[in-house]
């Protein structure tokens, strides 16, 4: 990582980060729940808003539907009333034309009779029959050939409304619904006075008998033929008094008053008042629509709706049928419907459901997106911050590593210096010892002339002290190298017996001088072919050290040091043992003997010229070989030191005694 780049280019961001860090931690944490709560609230409000909007749309659509329905009904009502009016008018015209078409003379009934028959054949569809009353009101003729009717010819109808109205007003008259005098069927009359063209005198009344049912059906036929396929609407015609002239529901209701309980009993109670008022208006000449929304008037009761055909909306369009300023009848077009059905059939509403769904989806998606964005920003902020913190930590670590490396380098340099210093010290300390040791030896062996005993003894002390000092210096250097890990080992496969033989050869003179037996105990069969992997010079040093110790601590004459080598059965390690019958190591000192400068018997050591470093060096060398060193000791009986070395499967490439056997051993 380029730490320099990081620290220079991100300065601005560091400041931001610092600000961000200064924010109270608790507040940062409470923002996310707040956002979530906000999203939920937003969703609820959005849903409610959408719901109310949809509700308004719903009622608007309902209103529109109702308006459409009303318009349709009004149109139909107009149509019906117009048809009825035209029908009646055409009949009236026929009747009016009849008297005027001829020069009507009193008593000329035969001619009128012929005309009536002709008219009857023209208007046979709507007119049941024509009849003539003379100026006295006596039935003179009827086109109806039914005996029940012809039986009345000659009978006076002078008190009949048809006669009195036409005679009194000299104007055409259209009667209310009435029962036929002939067959009890509901009929109404369209009558016109007969007036003498010359005298202007009232000569009688000509009237058409119109069967209500026939009349209504002819109109209905026309309505159905001309209307859209609105089969749900029903047509009714009533006379101005409220008597039903025609209703699609049942012909049994003919002549009954539309406001009677018999008719309205099956309808919602509120309808009676509404219908009464509507009819009043119709009679007074206005037209309109009576509207009953049962859903808006629950008090009207659900008994009005049947499970199979539920309706909650009733519309009745009413219109007077006017002929010559006279309201002759009223047309009613009724529609009952379920508003819900109406709405549901509405495509707009269906579409709006989809819109509701889409709105809801959009709203939730938006909310979700907002939530994600907010959380993501929050997270990315956190991640960014953490990343920067990590980068900073990393930077610090890199700096630290650099410092450590620098320090390590320094330490290494110091180590090297120390090592060089040690080597130099060793060299400088040893050099002055060379002549001391050398000359004292020459003095002792008589090369430089004979010495007396006292002189010899003195020179001997000088010599052995100098040798001790030299050994100490070497040991110190070794310890130093071992501690620093600078001791280099040259590992080679070596025959163990040769190591022992070499050791014995070197130390034999010392042992003999002290009259100590030094034995190499070779078990040739057991150790045959064995090789150890080691630095032979260093192992020689260890062996020499241990044997030297043994020689030091045994008594003269009886002392014995025995070196042997064995193979450990399970691991294959080669075990060297150096056994003596010396003083042994006191129990309380046994655990410390491998420590530096530790001497079990200081007085003895001083006499024997030890440095206190020998065993520590031995242990370090054996450890470095991957071996073990230990001992068994019994005070007064003797001590046996053991060390193990890993075996080698290779054959020796060079002689294990490539080193100089005369080389000094610690």
């Amino acid at each position: 990582m380029n730490t320099r780049q990081c620290s220079t280019s991100d300065n601005g961001v560091w400041i931001l980060m610092a600000i961000e860090r200064d924010k109270p931690h608790g507040r940062k944490q409470s923002i996310i729940p707040l956002i979530l709560a906000g999203i939920i609230a937003f969703s609820i409000i959005a849903s409610l808003a959408l719901y109310s909007i949809q509700l308004r749309a719903y009622s608007q659509i309902a209103k529109d539907s109702a308006e459409n329905l009303k318009a349709d009904l009004t149109e139909e009502s107009y149509f019906v009333s117009e048809l009825a009016s035209q029908h009646v008018s055409s009949i009236k015209k026929v009747i009016q034309i009849l008297p005027h078409a001829k020069s009507f003379q009193s008593g000329e009934y035969d001619r009128i009779k012929l005309l009536l028959d002709a008219a009857k054949s023209d208007a046979s569809e709507s007119v049941d029959s024509f009849f003539i009353l003379d100026k006295e009101g006596i039935l003179r003729y009827s086109t109806d050939t039914d005996p029940a009717v012809t039986a009345f010819v000659g009978t006076s109808f002078s008190s009949n409304e048809v006669f009195t109205k036409t005679k009194d007003t000299l104007k055409p008259f259209i009667s209310m619904l009435t029962l036929s005098f002939a067959d009890n069927s509901y009929v109404f009359y369209v009558a016109s006075p007969i007036i003498d063209q010359q005298t202007g005198e009232f000569e009688g009344t000509v009237s058409a008998v119109i069967q209500a049912e026939t009349f209504a059906k002819s109109i209905e036929k026309l309505v159905v033929a001309n209307s859209n396929d609105r089969d749900s609407s029903s047509l009714s015609l009533i006379d101005p008094e409220g008597k039903i002239m025609y209703t699609a529901s049942s012909s049994q209701n003919l002549g009954k008053n539309v406001l009677s309980d018999e008719i309205l009993g099956a309808l919602p109670s509120g309808i009676k008042e509404g219908l009464t008022a509507s009819l009043k208006e119709a009679v007074s000449g206005t037209f309109g629509i009576y509207e009953l929304d049962l859903a808006a008037h629950p008090e009207l009761g659900s008994s009005t709706t049947t499970p199979n055909n539920p309706f909650d909306y009733i519309l009745i369009s009413y219109r007077p049928v006017v002929v010559d300023d006279q309201i002759v009848m009223i047309s009613l077009v009724t529609e009952s419907a379920s508003l819900h059905d109406l709405l549901y059939q509405n495509e707009i509403l269906q579409t709006s459901y989809i819109f509701i769904f889409i709105y809801a989806m959009l709203a939730s998606m938006t909310a979700f997106a907002v939530a994600i964005i907010v959380i993501n920003r929050k997270l990315s902020g956190t991640v960014e911050r953490k990343t920067r913190e990590l980068l900073k930590s990393n930077e610090e670590l890199v700096k630290m590593a650099a410092e450590i490396t620098a320090q390590d380098k320094k330490l290494r340099e110091v180590d090297i210096e120390k090592e060089e210093f040690s080597a130099m010290i060793t060299h400088e300390l040893k050099t002055p010892l060379v002549p001391v040791i050398g000359y004292s030896e020459l003095l002792l062996d008589g090369t430089l002339g004979p010495l007396n005993e006292k002189q010899k003894e003195t020179v001997q002390v000088m010599n052995s002290s100098a040798v001790s000092l030299s050994r100490l210096i070497s040991d110190l250097l070794d310890v130093r190298k071992l501690e620093l890990g600078k001791m280099k080992f040259e590992m080679k496969p070596v025959i163990p017996e040769e190591l022992i033989e070499n050791c014995v050869r070197v130390l034999k003179p010392l042992a003999q001088a002290k009259r100590v037996t030094l034995v190499a105990k070779m078990n040739s069969r057991e150790s045959e072919g064995l090789l150890v992997m080691c630095d032979s010079k260093r192992i020689n040093q260890v062996l020499g050290n241990l044997v030297n110790n043994g020689i030091k601590f045994v008594s003269a004459n009886t002392g014995k040091v025995e070196i042997s080598v064995n193979k450990k059965e399970n691991s294959g390690d080669i075990i060297f043992s150096i056994k003596d019958n010396g003083t042994g190591i006191p129990n309380d000192k046994q655990q410390n003997i491998f420590k530096k400068f530790y001497q079990a018997d200081t007085s003895m050591t001083r006499n024997a010229g030890g440095t206190g470093l020998g065993l520590a060096i031995c242990k370090a060398i054996i450890d470095a070989h991957g071996g073990k060193i230990w001992f068994e000791s019994e005070p007064g009986v003797g001590t046996t030191f053991y060390f193990s070395l890993p075996p080698s499967l290779k054959s020796p490439t060079t002689s294990p005694l490539g080193i100089n056997p005369k080389e000094s051993l610690a």
């Binding site: 050398g438 280099k488 080193i659």
Partner: protein
């Protein structure tokens, strides 16, 4: 015939000690107290040394310098050089010396026996 040994050491008493030991054992010794003098003696054709026993650390011209010079001049074949030093050489350091042409090396201080053994081995 007496073996001719050249002893090179800047410390005169060490050179004297070595001479004394070797002479007492029947060697013919010549001494030089610096590298430059040693080179002069070696290059003098009349001197045919059987062994050159030389200190490593000497001012101006060190033992290594002498060895290097001899090697450059192609005189190592007829001159056997061994070193003795107070620097407590390790095996690998000895190996390094052998690589550049020395026969062997021994540590100082030395006993009489050690020195005689060492010299005897290389003058066989």
């Amino acid at each position: 015939m007496m073996k001719k040994i050249l002893i090179v050491d800047d410390q005169e008493h060490i050179a004297n000690l070595a001479e004394m030991i070797l002479v007492s054992s029947g060697y013919n010794c010549t001494k030089a107290n610096n590298g430059k003098r040693a080179l002069e003696l070696i290059l003098d054709q009349r001197n045919e040394f059987d062994l050159i026993l030389m200190d490593l650390a000497m001012p101006e011209v060190s033992g290594i310098d002498v060895l290097t010079k001899l090697k450059e001049d192609g005189l190592l074949d007829q001159n056997k050089v061994v070193f003795f030093t107070a620097s407590s050489l390790t095996e690998s350091e000895k190996k390094d010396l052998k690589k550049i042409g020395a026969l062997d090396a021994m540590n100082k201080p030395f006993t009489k026996a050690e020195l005689l053994g060492f010299v005897a081995e290389h003058t066989k």
